[in-house]
């Protein structure tokens, strides 16, 4: 371990220390505010550290065999941190409603971030597996966190069992791959090529590898909630507290996707030397196509906002898979940029929507928000409604927003790789997606129910909640997110320039 290596690990180390210090802090004094501030500090410091590292990174740095720090991973980690900061801020508004002190929540949150951090820099199946499990186990603790919720047990049990199942599949896959290649590192030359010089390896041999790959992908696909491993997603999204859902939708997805890309691009090249990656590509297209179609279709008539977002996230991960479809190594860089840009757009939009969701939930005293509960928000709370509109348009990939540029990137990759099938499915999927996205936006504008309610003032239940009044800080962040989404949607180079490896 050289000093350089330690420097590279600094952001991760900060989080790890943060966890330990939090434990000590709890031992010293149990206070909601204190632990919140502490967590935020840790995240911010880690963010700063990663940013300075990101700027100064001169080359990819391998730290032991397990991890390799590169700028893509660091960027993704910054995204993770930003999302986590949003989660902590949101949870602070939620956790005050119950009487317990929620130290565990913040520790688990930090553990999630740690797991994500390990995932995004991992270069080895062991690191992947550990990061994966750290993420899952902590999330299991979080999804059912509010124990007084009726869905607490169900959510966490579902997540635990299914996640354990999926990770078992993944581990079996890793074992298969390992027995085939003889190495657990992504980037090492596989032993099968160095040790055994059986150049006449049969097709069956590759099939064995493929089975391993598929089993491995089951785990990844589960986490990314790619169809057909998506079934858990809406249930867990709905059952989990809103900030945790945000965590699931952002941190977990970013980290898993980054590690998938790292794995894939090392693997794809590896497979390329065997000159037969068609089947695996085919498998990936199945994932992508199924996710795009099933995700969007399921969201079509969904009323519950969280479930709707769950389904839409399935579709988005399907879109994102397109970046893996590159054929030539030259396009890998574009694929990375595309993925990171798309993820940024996705994360920003998701944060925006969940933020609104959390705020309105509080206002409605109802955790099961329907789309219709947002009725007429545009006329009551313009900035919040604008935030949703921008976010939804971004998710739908309409110009003026980041999401469009993200989609533009994806299409660039797909056109370059000539994946016409994927492109057509993407177009169809977007078309279906518009139905429910637009429905949400229209609900924001519609005023029909309000008019009815005026007539029935004596029924307090049907009264609309009071217009939301946001604290200046909230208002500020809302405006910031809106501006950011639109600004980056119009001048994407502000962000895109960061996504190019400087070396």
């Amino acid at each position: 371990m050289t000093q350089l290596m330690l420097q590279c690990l600094l952001p991760i180390l900060i989080i790890a220390f943060g966890i330990v210090l939090s434990l000590l802090l709890i031992a010293w004094r149990r206070s909601q505010t204190l632990i919140l501030i502490f967590t935020l500090t840790i995240f911010s410091v880690a963010l700063l550290a990663s940013f300075s590292l990101f700027v100064n990174l001169a080359s990819d740095i391998q730290v032991t065999t397990l991890v390799k720090v590169d700028s893509y991973g660091l960027f993704a980690f910054m995204l993770v941190l930003i999302a986590s900061i949003a989660v902590s801020l949101l949870s602070s508004t939620w956790l005050i409603h119950t009487t317990e002190v929620h130290d565990e929540f913040f520790i688990l949150l930090q553990l999630v971030v740690l797991g994500a951090g390990i995932l995004v820099i991992s270069d080895h199946y062991a690191a992947l597996f550990l990061g994966f499990e750290l993420l899952s186990i902590s999330l299991v603790g979080l999804v059912g966190y509010s124990r007084d919720s009726e869905f607490s047990v169900e959510t966490s049990f579902k997540y635990l069992v299914l996640s354990a199942c999926a990770s078992s599949f993944m581990l079996l896959g890793i074992a298969f791959i390992y027995s085939y290649s003889g190495t657990l590192s992504f980037t090492d030359e596989p032993e099968i090529l160095t040790n055994i010089s059986n150049s006449d390896s049969s097709v069956g041999n590759v099939f064995f590898y493929r089975v391993g790959f598929l089993l491995f992908m089951v785990g990844i696909a589960f986490k990314l909630s790619l169809a057909p491993f998506h079934l858990w997603t809406p249930d867990v999204y709905q059952g989990a507290p809103t900030p945790v859902t945000l965590l699931l939708a952002t941190v977990s997805k970013i980290a898993m996707f980054i590690v998938l890309m790292k794995f894939w691009f090392s693997q794809a090249i590896f497979v390329e030397t065997k000159s037969s990656d068609e089947n695996i590509l085919f498998l990936m297209s199945i994932f992508a196509i199924a996710s795009m179609l099933i995700g969007n279709t399921l969201a079509l008539k969904q009323q519950n906002i969280k479930r709707l977002l769950a389904y839409s996230s399935i579709a988005h991960m399907g879109y994102l898979l397109i970046v893996l479809m590159v054929i030539s190594p030259h396009s890998v860089e574009l694929a990375w940029q595309s993925a990171l840009f798309y993820l940024t757009a996705y994360v920003l939009a998701t944060i925006a929507i969940f933020m609104t969701l959390q705020l309105t939930q509080y206002n409605h005293h109802n955790t099961e928000l329907d789309v219709n509960d947002w009725q007429g928000m545009f006329w009551q709370n313009r900035s919040l409604a604008l935030l949703i509109i921008v976010a939804i348009l971004s998710l739908a990939g309409i110009p003026l927003t980041m999401g469009f540029i993200g989609k533009f990137y994806l299409l660039n990759v797909a056109v370059k790789a000539q994946q016409w099938w994927l492109i057509s499915v993407l177009i169809i999927g977007s078309g279906i997606g518009l139905v429910y996205y637009l429905r949400i936006i229209f609900v924001l504008f519609s005023t029909a129910i309000k008019a009815n309610n005026v007539n029935e003032k004596n029924n307090p239940k049907e009264l609309l909640p009071l217009p939301l009044t946001l604290t200046p800080a909230m208002n500020f962040s809302v405006v910031i997110i809106i501006i950011l989404s639109v600004l980056l949607g119009i001048f994407p180079d502000l962000l895109a320039n960061f996504l190019v490896k400087p070396y």
């Binding site: 003026l400 504008f445 994407p492």
Partner: protein
């Protein structure tokens, strides 16, 4: 000459209207009226004071926008875009005026959307960087969708979603084609480029261009709209508020035709030539089908909407005839239909504001109370079925005359659309103004001064262009257009 200023001015005016509404409720209308007027005057003055020769495409602005993709902010003008922008600005005025009393809810936001969509449309007509073009193409949809979805009639959400999905899906196909073109540019020159002028000099293999052409074609055919992808239009038109319909019919459909002229035909001459029989057939089918469907409608706005489909069929047929006469006819059709359908939708709006129904069965005998409106309605119906002396006649005549040079049989079939248009025109006019009076006499008033202004300005233009079409056509006589068309024609030989 700054188109950017025009767009920003419109946006700014819209925003101002929105803001000021909170302070003084009635101000939004005046602000937007003033904005459109000022912008229109500015546009006219700026046009006259420039030294450019707009018979060819003149690049006005070219600034790097997204360097990582070599995307530029590039705007250009030629007579085609000038004519269409003028039409847009004129109809903007009409839109502001027809909404004057119709919209009483969220007026400021309404005018913001109206002006924003106009700004977007102006962008579409001027952008020559294809990414920028696509950007405007999409951006203009948002406010229009909002117009439909917020201030529309009973089924507005459905119509808005349908409208948006049709255009969005088709334009995504176009986006794919755009990206593919930029990659071809990359392959041939080693650099990405989205600039239209750069693309014109590309050497494209035919096998590829056919698909690329189709990508563009689909997007524009949906917007035009052409059968069989027209079905968003009746719904959108029917449900939109009057100004929305005016905007949709008057200008938005024109963007599809504009795209066909500027991009499909010019970028892919050979491919479009090969595709022309299909496109022309679609045009003919649109003409007849639109006319037939218009006849079957009971809803006044739906009727007019289908008549738009019929008219746009002429454009499609004319454009894919590769003939200078037909080309002029197509351009004239754009203007003429812009005016006449705008007028008819305005009429529908005025009737709706009086009897709160669009059902033809609830109308009849209006002439008794509203002879002025009836007179104008007659003139506009006559324009719709191509009465000589009004702009539409020259347009259709030129289109068909030119198209006949290339597709005799198709054109003869298309000419039956003239009968169809007479039928629906008669049905439209007579069911509203003739027959027994259906409502109480006091229910309907004749045109107010504002409405009179709207109608008379539209009619004046229709008659002027109808009798003196050279005022427009002179711009499209230039050698340059002939050159392009001859090039396309030359490919055949």
């Amino acid at each position: 000459m700054s188109i950017t200023l025009v767009m920003c001015g419109l946006l700014f005016g819209g925003a101002l209207a929105w803001l000021l509404e909170g302070i003084k409720p009635q101000s939004a209308r005046w602000v937007s009226l003033l904005t459109v007027l000022v912008i229109g005057v500015y546009f006219a003055i700026a046009l006259n004071s420039t030294a450019y020769d707009f018979s060819t495409l003149q690049l006005l602005v070219r600034v790097a926008w997204i360097p990582s993709f070599h995307i530029e902010y590039a705007l250009a003008l030629d007579y085609l875009s000038i004519v269409l922008i003028s039409l847009t600005l004129f109809l903007a005025l009409i839109c502001v005026l027809v909404s004057w009393q119709e919209i009483n809810d969220k007026v400021g936001f309404y005018y913001f959307n109206l002006l924003a969509s106009i700004a977007g449309i102006v962008g579409v007509f001027t952008a020559v960087d294809m990414f920028l073009f696509f950007f405007f193409w999409e951006v203009m949809l948002l406010p229009i969708t909002a117009l439909i979805a917020i201030w529309g009639h009973e089924d507005r959400h459905f119509a808005a979603i349908k409208f948006f999905i049709f255009t969005q899906v088709s334009s995504l196909i176009m986006l794919v084609a755009i990206i593919a073109m930029s990659f071809i540019h990359y392959q041939q020159t080693g650099q990405l480029s989205f600039l239209y002028q750069d693309w014109l000099i590309l050497d494209l293999p035919l096998s590829l261009t056919q698909y690329l052409m189709l990508g563009f074609f689909i997007a524009f055919a949906v917007k035009l709209p052409s059968v069989p992808v027209h079905s968003w239009l009746p719904d959108a038109h029917t449900q939109a508020p009057t100004a929305g319909s005016v905007l949709l019919a008057g200008v938005l459909l024109k963007t599809g035709a504009y795209g066909l002229i500027r991009f499909v035909l010019q970028l892919f001459p050979q491919a479009s030539l090969n595709f022309a029989p299909v496109a022309a057939t679609l045009g003919v089918v649109s003409i007849l089908y639109g006319a037939k469907m218009a006849f079957a409608q009971q809803d006044l706005k739906r009727l007019v909407a289908y008549s738009s489909i019929s008219h746009m069929g002429f454009v499609m047929l004319a454009l894919f005839s590769f003939n200078i006469i037909a080309y002029q006819g197509a351009i004239l059709t754009l203007v003429a239909h812009g005016l006449s359908s705008a007028a008819l939708f305005a009429l529908a709006g005025m009737i709706y504001s009086r009897i709160h129904s669009r059902d033809l069965n609830n109308m009849g005998g209006f002439w008794l109370n509203t002879p002025r409106m009836g007179g104008f309605a007659l003139a506009f119906c006559a324009a719709a079925f191509g009465l000589p002396g009004l702009a539409n006649f020259v347009a259709e005549f030129l289109s068909l005359l030119g198209a006949y040079q290339r597709y005799p049989i198709l054109t003869i079939i298309a000419a039956f659309g003239l009968i169809g248009s007479a039928i629906y025109g008669m049905v439209l006019f007579q069911s509203v103004f003739h027959g027994k009076r259906q409502v109480k006499p006091q229910a309907i008033n004749d045109l107010s001064a504002r409405e009179l202004l709207v109608f008379s300005s539209l009619l004046t233009l229709l008659i002027f262009i109808g009798l003196y079409p050279n005022s427009l056509l002179d711009f499209f006589q230039s050698e340059n257009i002939k050159l392009v068309l001859n090039n396309t024609a030359g490919v055949t030989k």
